[in-house]
Symmetry: C2
Subunit: 680 residues, 2 copies
């Protein structure tokens, strides 16, 4: 570098340096450590290294850029532009040479470590740093006088052209290596996978010539009830398709413990469940690739997050030890596997699988994924994060310390074990309001934006378009019953006489609230029964008790904010959740939704290999709390049975939703009920 050499300033990095006239921009970028992509290694064929030169006065950088600061368009750029079209103002960084002082912008799509905004609602971004990347190389042809294997010559090419010291490849790759090299006339693109768990870069795939059809990964959130996958472009970070499928293990038991029991009672039952879930994942992978119109063999990575029982069943490990104290995991650390070890035949046979670490015997890799996505350990204020599912994972923490536990909420929050319950699908009631005066309901169903009392609702939903009530709907319904004075603090539903509305219908010795009756048209009759209330009470008590247990361990009786995660966390109304007493009392604006945080955590681990190491470290430092053996859990659980709570004051809630205080106990022996009646 010489003081008279042209100055090159890169934006947005601000990196700068002087380079001899004629230096290609890509070379300058590499020498300065500027993040400028290239798959072909500067051969002018991949077009990944596009840059935008800036001309004129750049006072910020102290540079004046004259016309001719870059070399003229060359034949390579002409050809590329004719064939594919180069955006106006763009140049190929490997072709354009520095002629005089120049400011060069690297657009996001030319950055390897580009940042991808996770979703519109969130400020969080994912920094792209995938474990698997493409490299175009020119391999020496075999020479009888210096005999070496094709693999060894490929390795040499990667060393010389990409500074990759060594590689490894399995037998299935070796079997195709020779024909592909010859088809590509010894110019090939390889997909190399490298991570801290696979320190020697591994050839996952090889294509003749320049491979331009992309590289994909699956982030899979394997839940007890549903399996959700995001198909992600490993270069851009873009989610090409998202899809879900029911977990077929449901036929062996709805919740985790019933599946563990199935494995205990039926020899080979664990293997049956393993086969079932692996098949489902293959189906899901096929469907999602079809939806995104990509070749499934381009899926070269998969990341799994799941609870410990799903984790073991996915891996082919009998979960029996997870069904009894001390809830010992076979392995708790993260894992690097091959797709074929999990019989994932739908994707590339050499695809790498990363499974996030489990936190404890009841707190799985899904909770670790939530921690990766929500980062409680970086929070300034004390955050409570609850991932609501068949099992709830709960994290409490801030910068000083993070605690975690899980709580067996059961499937009620997902609409299961609810008389009119169904999963969140078109036709399900997802929101409901009960008029405190008339006690009449109005509701919204999935698939329409209109409320049931709005004009055009019937037309939009159509006859028979209301099919049941999903998780968020049942939570709102119970909370609304409480707010409308139709259900008392103990969860007892009032009779038509006691409440003065014919919506209350007797059902055996208890009462139900009639939400919607379409029996006249052959449709369903949707009610909220006393049994539904009890199921929701059990679920919400478990959730609240888990949160309280962490708060005890942390030595606090309130938290600063609450994050609702989980597929349906996004759909829960904060106010209704608080009326129900699912979550501790905080100002309503301190309750936020993180959407499917576990799935997002999986996506982060898929797109950024450094995040894997990060979550492994975080998990080691999390304080694990076991709800099953903590005597106070039972105490908290009983106290949380009342709606919203028997003893905790819920002062913030009282500001926004003062609750009536009826009692519908007719002397069935409930002491609290009697007392309330006397009071009322």
């Amino acid at each position: 570098m010489n003081e008279t050499d042209p100055l090159v300033v890169f934006t947005p990095s601000g990196k700068r340096g002087r380079f001899p006239k004629g230096t290609p921009v890509l070379t300058a970028a590499r020498q300065l450590g500027v993040d400028l992509d290239s798959v072909c290694g500067g051969r002018g064929i991949c077009s990944k290294c596009q840059i935008t030169p800036g001309y004129g006065e750049f006072s910020k950088h102290g540079v004046t850029v004259r016309e001719g600061a870059l070399s003229e368009w060359n034949a390579v750029e002409e050809r590329y532009d004719q064939k594919r079209g180069l955006k106006a103002g763009r140049r190929l960084g490997c072709q354009a040479q520095v002629m005089s002082d120049i400011v060069i912008d690297v657009p996001p799509e030319s950055q390897v470590h580009k940042q991808v905004v996770r979703k519109a609602a969130s400020a969080r971004v994912i920094q792209m740093d995938p474990a698997t990347r493409l490299y175009f190389v020119e391999v020496d042809e075999p020479d009888m006088h210096e005999p070496t294997g094709d693999l060894e010559r490929l390795e040499r090419a990667l060393r010389e052209q990409w500074e990759i010291a060594e590689i490894t490849a399995d037998l299935t790759l070796l079997a195709k290596l020779q024909p592909v090299l010859r088809k590509g006339k010894f110019r090939v693109t390889v997909a190399l996978h490298k991570s801290h768990l696979d320190p020697v870069p591994r050839v996952i795939e090889i294509w003749p010539g320049l491979h331009e059809s992309g590289l994909y990964g699956l982030a899979i959130d394997l839940g007890s009830t549903t399996v959700a996958a995001h198909l992600t472009d490993l270069e851009s970070g873009e989610v090409k398709a998202s899809s879900g499928i029911m977990n077929p293990q449901i036929r062996f038991g709805e919740d985790l413990m019933s599946r563990v029991s199935y494995a205990m009672m039926n020899p080979g039952g664990d293997q049956e469940m393993t086969r079932a879930v692996r098949e489902a994942i293959n189906t899901l992978a096929e469907e999602i690739a079809k939806e995104a119109e990509i070749d499934p063999s381009l899926i070269v990575e998969t990341v799994f997050v799941c609870n410990p029982v799903m984790h073991h069943l996915l891996l082919g490990i009998d979960p029996v030890e997870l069904g009894q104290a001390p809830f010992a995991l076979a392995t708790s650390d993260s894992m690097a596997l091959e797709a074929r070890e999990l019989e994932l035949s739908a994707i590339n046979t050499r695809a790498r699988v990363y499974v996030l670490p489990c936190i404890a015997g009841h707190v799985g890799a899904d909770c670790a994924a939530v921690a990766l996505s929500e980062e409680p350990g970086k929070s300034e204020d004390l955050a409570l994060i609850v991932d609501v599912g068949t099992n709830a994972e709960i994290l409490l923490g801030d910068k000083s310390r993070v605690l975690a536990c899980s709580s067996p909420t059961g499937p009620a929050f997902e609409g299961a074990q609810i008389s009119s319950g169904q999963r969140a699908a078109p036709g399900a009631i997802e929101a409901i309001r009960i008029d405190p005066e008339t006690k009449e309901p109005r509701f919204r169903v999935i698939g329409s934006d209109k409320w049931s009392d709005e004009e055009g609702f019937a037309e939009e939903v159509g006859p028979g378009g209301i099919t049941g009530i999903c998780g968020s709907g049942i939570i709102e319904a119970v909370a609304e019953l409480r707010m409308a004075g139709l259900m008392d603090e103990s969860g007892l539903i009032g009779s038509a006489e006691a409440t003065g509305t014919a919506r209350m219908v007797p059902e055996g010795r208890t009462h139900s609230y009639l939400v919607h009756d379409a029996t006249a048209e052959g449709g369903p009759r949707i009610t909220v029964t006393q049994g539904d209330i009890r199921a929701i009470q059990l679920a919400k008590s478990a959730l609240y008790a888990g949160a309280r247990l962490l708060m005890d361990q942390r030595g606090v009786d309130k938290v600063d904010r609450v994050v609702l995660a989980g597929a349906f966390g996004a759909h829960i109304s904060a106010k209704h959740a608080m009326v129900l007493g699912m979550i501790p009392d905080v100002p309503l604006d301190k309750v936020t939704s993180a959407g499917n945080a576990a799935g997002t955590g999986a996506r982060i681990a898929l797109c950024n290999v450094g995040a894997r190491r990060e979550i492994e470290r975080v998990v080691r430092e999390i304080t694990k709390v076991e709800t099953a053996i903590e005597p106070k859990f039972q105490e908290h659980f009983v106290a949380a049975n009342a709606i919203p709570h028997k003893t905790d004051p819920f002062l913030e809630l009282a500001k926004v939703a003062p609750l009536p205080n009826p009692s519908f106990n007719t002397g069935g022996g409930d002491e609290g009920g009697r007392r309330r009646r006397r009071r009322g």
Copy 2:
């Protein structure tokens, strides 16, 4: 350590040091780096650490050992002695404590790195240092308050009890980890595999409690014609059983090139051959385990040596590139694989497989194994090593440099393509002598030590007990015909008239030599035909031409010694081989046999993990010579067609076996023949 502490001297190592009174002998040995085995880690249960204390005056060591220099027998030793019996004078090193100055002998069976004499005929020893070893550990039981996986606690136990920093395990091991740990009450033995290619120790197997049924490996020499295996005890180095099986690929082609052609002509033919050979290896593994009466799942390692075509077919790689210049290997480096990658289902599913490196497209891992066994690179004099098989591997070298090539001899030396040929099995004529006066033959067959003219031969061999002629037999027969003057230098067999013996029988336009006629008793008629001579001539010319090519490259026209390797190398008579002109002319006592050197090389790599790194280094340094493209090869081949040779003098041979010089050419246009006839 204190100057007044007792002095402990270990033999045979001579290592010595002072230790506080009460130090267990095993502890002292470990601190001094003395090679004293222990699987249980000093818990008094494995008995691997047996030592023999010496008492009295040891002037060599300057030590007088008094009675009581070791602590009294303790209860653990008493119990062990009652249960299993301890040899007289032996103590358990982990139990016996140092009380005063002592000399302690570590018997070979208590050494990890014991030396195993390879075979009686050889001074070479194998130093035991296997990649897979047993470790007994006590694992912490799971604790809900500090939840970690069972694998992570096993890892911790190995770290704390054996200083093994980290381990890995595959899903099949994980699937059995929890039940085995519980069955063993968290005391288990693990077989850990570690090598330079598998740097993180891998759990291959786990047993509850102390595993005492041993650990085994297979050294497999995968030849074109036969597959030979040695089942080896990985602790003692002892060969428990050796067995062979025909390579079923023979049905796709007898020699390598015909198999490559089969793969080229038949889509999927390579996969067919891969399946066939893998099945054969499974059968062989089952049989050999049965023969040795061991559980095949105790076979935790396998080492393969083979030529490049067998190598590729074993690995599932289409060998098509090996059938044409430039003979590119898919991979040439050594490989570490899992048994299941090769579908080796007969042995432990997690067994590790090591495949030696190939030297070049025509010079395989079998030749590398010969180099490992015979170590030409350490030879003071210039050694020519020929491994005779369907393909001959040839090494020439000394300390300064080693060269290697292969030569396509075809299967004639193995008794194939010979009219009365058969493989070396009972009933095959393996040695033959022809009386130079009477021209009558006498011979020996495999299965009997008697010559056919000795008393009792007929009784021992029995009627129909002579079935054919094997490789070493045909070599001797051809050489004997030459020495008896029944065949001329050009390889032409004389007629009954020309030779004066009725043993010469016409066969079409040529003649055969009748060795044995049992047709009267319904047995075979064994002759040496003109066609047999031609087949042997082709084979020996190829072999000789290969050797000469290496000598050219090295710039010499003679070698100091010749080593005959290969399964049948042991059975070849040096004199007959030289009469035939198979090998260059050296004094007869400079021709030695190395037996199955490739198989021995495989055994060395199996027993000593350092030898793997060594042969990888050696192979990189070998000068590879490609016979197929070397114009001089053809020249040497033609010149070597004469028996022993057209131009090379064979002066050493002349000293021990002066050859008559008839000519039986009757004017069929052979110019050389005519000239010889004029001369004769």
